[in-house]
């Protein structure tokens, strides 16, 4: 039962995120914040409804702490590493690459709104 609810919840949240990006008239900042929140909720659904985080009975033997730690470490490497590398190490001006990416996103959603 837990699995069915979790499955439906994750589908709904995915569809809401897609709707927010493609169809809604929300400002871009809100769309981004909304997607972020949905992503966190999504991760929560996965962990609690599918991935045994609540199963303490076997001495936490099934809790994937280990893999979660590795996952976070890797995400850290990917994000921090990409920012470090793509900054090229000599461009500390106001228009860093984060700015670029954001602009790109903005332009994107504008494009879609245009259709």
């Amino acid at each position: 039962m837990n699995h069915v609810i979790g499955f439906i919840l994750s589908l709904v949240m995915t569809l809401v995120a897609a709707w927010a990006a493609i169809q809604s008239d929300l400002p871009v900042t809100w769309v981004i914040i909304g997607i972020m929140i949905l992503a966190l909720l999504q991760a929560g659904v996965q962990l609690f409804m599918f991935m045994h985080v609540t199963e303490a009975s076997s001495g936490n033997g099934h809790v994937p702490w280990n893999m979660m730690f590795h996952g976070f470490a890797l995400a850290g490497i990917v994000v921090a590493g990409s920012l470090f590398v793509m900054s090229f190490g000599h461009d500390h001006g106001d228009h860093g690459d984060m700015g670029d990416m954001q602009q790109q996103e903005e332009q994107h959603s504008e494009d879609h709104n245009g259709h």
């Binding site: 590398v85 793509m86 900054s87 190490g89 994107h108």
Partner: protein, 647 residues
């Protein structure tokens, strides 16, 4: 739409390939029908979830891809040795170096090693199959259809031509229109599903299904290398999946992640690609290290020297492999600080690797070496790989890399590590475990011929390329009729021919051994030198692997088992064995996803949607699948074992 719109036309070589593919296909259909083998093929192989059969299918596919990638390589070598012949045009040359690289890494090296892991790892840890046998079949078929998709590209639609790294913006829709790059993206994406699933599957198998008493630090070193590799797969492949998906969306749906326009970041592709790509080269080298360790300790007849250090050095290599990716694009233009960080982390990798080399030498030291064919491959690996490793450290120095980058020096370097490391290991492992798979050894005399031809061919082919690189010859160059490069290029091509000849002898040996080799009577095929549990099973290995699983509390348990006269068949302890049922679902599921990918490649959306819906239906079908397998009866086990052991 007319058929010529999607078929590649106008190239005599490709017409030849089309005809030979059509004839080969017809011949296979004819043989299967004539000998009434369709049912056999479906029941015994296509629906199989047996890890040993899936492993054999992986290895056969990998050998086929070694042939295809090798033909690509030979065509390049012919072009480079005879640049005035007009053998290839520049477009065809671009396509060939792209498919050569992609096929050799993704569809040859990885499946070959995964095939060996499939067959050997459960046997080494005393398991009866993978943790998820259905998923294992799914992995194989996703690889198979990904491979098929990638390989039909050169007759239908045109091959990808932007290099195996597929750098943007060149590989984007603006500069590479048409289906070519889509074949690359979808072929890799589809087979990537299988690789990731295998990584998880093997990880769970190794962590949960070891023989009673076997701690992690009792595991055979090949199993250890597999476990570490699985961790790298699980953490690196999602990066590739995301990068491929982004580029696919760029190309097919017009987004601008990696484009020059719309403030895309073309270099972000290189960044993401190598974040996966560097761990990827360790995915193909660590299992190779595992194979060499097994072979060397078996034929040196000693326990592996420094077992614990060997394990820890693999773990350290795995960690470092995620921290060095920028050394593939030092010349991107990043500042000195960025490059220095990655230069240092790159050179650090030489430390654990060096530790391993010394441990192999120490294992050999003062031992009574038996020069079998797998041992020859392993002994040849050590000096050859060091040549590749040392030039790798040279390339790792960012300042010097500005000179070496994209020259033949780099080509020579990575062929020295990948061929002397991975390919030698594939041959060593295949010959070593061949009797376990097929019930007979490969002929030693032909095996030695194959080895020496390939070994000398390899050095003659790639050693001159270091000097070509230092003479300034860039990679991926089509016109090379520069007088001072020509002699070395001709020598290199001669070496390539030697390697091709070695491969032909190897394949002939498969046939020759099938016809004439003595059949194995014991499971311990190499003169009773086996040290780990896979040699404790009978040959051929029964489908349930172990009648009774022995208790293991040391490294190389089979050595003591032999001394104490124990086997994997203790008659009074036999219990019914739970085995998984065969199923055709994985094949059908992946065929549907292959169809969807094919639709996406040509942007035929109805076909893509149809295939994807089919995939979802197969997933629902699987969710309501209550087949829990079956039990093998005690009588059947006893009968099988007694027959195999001649009791």
């Amino acid at each position: 739409m007319h058929i010529t719109d999607i078929l590649v036309t106008g190239e005599p070589i490709i017409y030849g390939a089309m005809v030979s593919m059509a004839l080969g296909g017809l011949a296979i259909l004819f043989v299967l029908t004539y000998f009434k083998k369709w049912g056999w093929l479906w029941r015994e192989w296509l629906t199989s979830v047996d890890h040993k059969k899936i492993g054999v299918m992986y290895i056969l596919s990998a050998l086929l891809m070694l042939f295809r990638g090798g033909v690509d390589a030979m065509m390049m070598r012919v072009q480079l040795a005879f640049p005035d012949l007009g053998f290839l045009n520049s477009q065809h040359y671009n396509e060939i170096f792209t498919t050569h690289g992609t096929i050799m890494i993704i569809f040859m090296a990885m499946p070959f090693l995964i095939g060996l892991m499939n067959i050997i790892v459960p046997l080494q840890i005393g398991a009866r199959d993978f943790a998820f046998p259905y998923l294992n079949a799914l992995s194989f078929w996703s690889f198979f259809f990904g491979m098929a998709l990638f390989n039909i590209s050169f007759v239908i639609g045109g091959s990808p031509d932007a290099g195996w790294t597929s750098y943007t913006p060149l590989s984007g829709a603006a500069m590479s229109p048409g289906p070519g790059q889509n074949f690359y993206l979808m072929g890799l994406q589809l087979s990537g599903i299988g690789t990731l699933a295998t990584g998880i599957n093997l990880m769970v198998t190794i962590l949960k299904m070891r023989a009673p008493g076997m701690k992690l630090f009792h595991m055979p070193i090949f199993t250890w290398s597999t476990l570490v590799t699985c961790f790298i797969i699980v953490f690196a492949f999602p990066i590739l999946t995301v990068a491929l998906a982004l580029l696919t969306i760029d190309r097919i749906f017009g987004s601008q992640f990696f484009t020059l326009t719309g403030e895309g970041l073309p270099m972000m592709w290189a960044n993401l690609f190598w974040m996966w790509g560097h761990p990827e080269v360790y995915i193909v080298i660590l299992p190779a290290f595992g194979i060499f360790s097994e072979v060397i300790s078996t034929f040196a007849k000693k326990r592996l020297f420094g077992y614990n250090v060997m394990v820890w050095s693999m773990i350290v290599i795995a960690l470092l492999s995620f921290l060095v990716w920028v050394h593939h694009f030092f010349t991107m233009g990043a500042g000195a600080f960025v490059n220095s960080v990655f230069s240092v982390s790159t050179m650090l990798i030489a430390v654990p690797t060096g530790v391993k080399i010394f441990n192999w030498l120490a294992t050999l030291y003062k031992s009574k070496i038996e020069f079998t064919v797998p041992m020859l491959w392993s002994l040849a690996f050590i000096p050859s790989f060091i040549l590749g490793g040392v030039t790798g450290v040279m390339l790792g120095m960012a300042a010097a890399d500005y000179q070496f980058h994209n020259s033949y020096f780099l080509i020579a370097h990575f062929h020295y590590v990948l061929i002397a490391g991975t390919v030698f290991a594939c041959f060593a492992g295949l010959v070593f475990w061949y009797p376990k798979m097929f019930g007979h050894k490969m002929n030693e005399r032909l095996g030695r011929w194959a080895f020496w031809l390939f070994f000398f061919g390899f050095h003659v082919c790639f050693f001159p390329q270091y000097f070509l690189g230092l003479d300034g010859m860039p990679r991926r160059l089509f016109i090379t009729n520069v007088a001072e490069w020509l002699p070395l290029n001709v020598i290199s091509t001669v070496g390539a021919a030697g390697m091709a000849l070695g491969f032909v002898v190897f394949v002939y040996n498969v046939y020759y051994s099938f016809r004439y080799s003595e059949r194995e009577t014991t499971g311990d095929s190499w003169n009773g030198n086996g040290r780990t549990l896979e040699w404790a099973t009978t040959t051929p290995v029964p489908y349930y692997n172990f009648a009774t699983v022995p208790y293991v509390d040391e490294i190389d348990p089979y050595v003591r088992m032999k001394e104490e006269g124990k086997t994997t068949f203790e008659e009074d302890k036999v219990k019914p064995i739970h085995m998984p049922s065969y199923t055709g679902q994985p094949f059908i599921f992946m065929a549907l996803l292959g169809l969807a990918s094919f639709g996406l490649i040509f942007e035929w959306m109805y076909l893509a949607v149809f295939g994807l819906i089919g995939g979802v239906v197969m997933m629902i079908r699987r969710s309501f699948d209550y087949d829990d397998g079956y039990y093998v009866s005690v009588e059947e086990i006893k009968e099988t074992e007694k027959k195999a052991r001649g009791l």
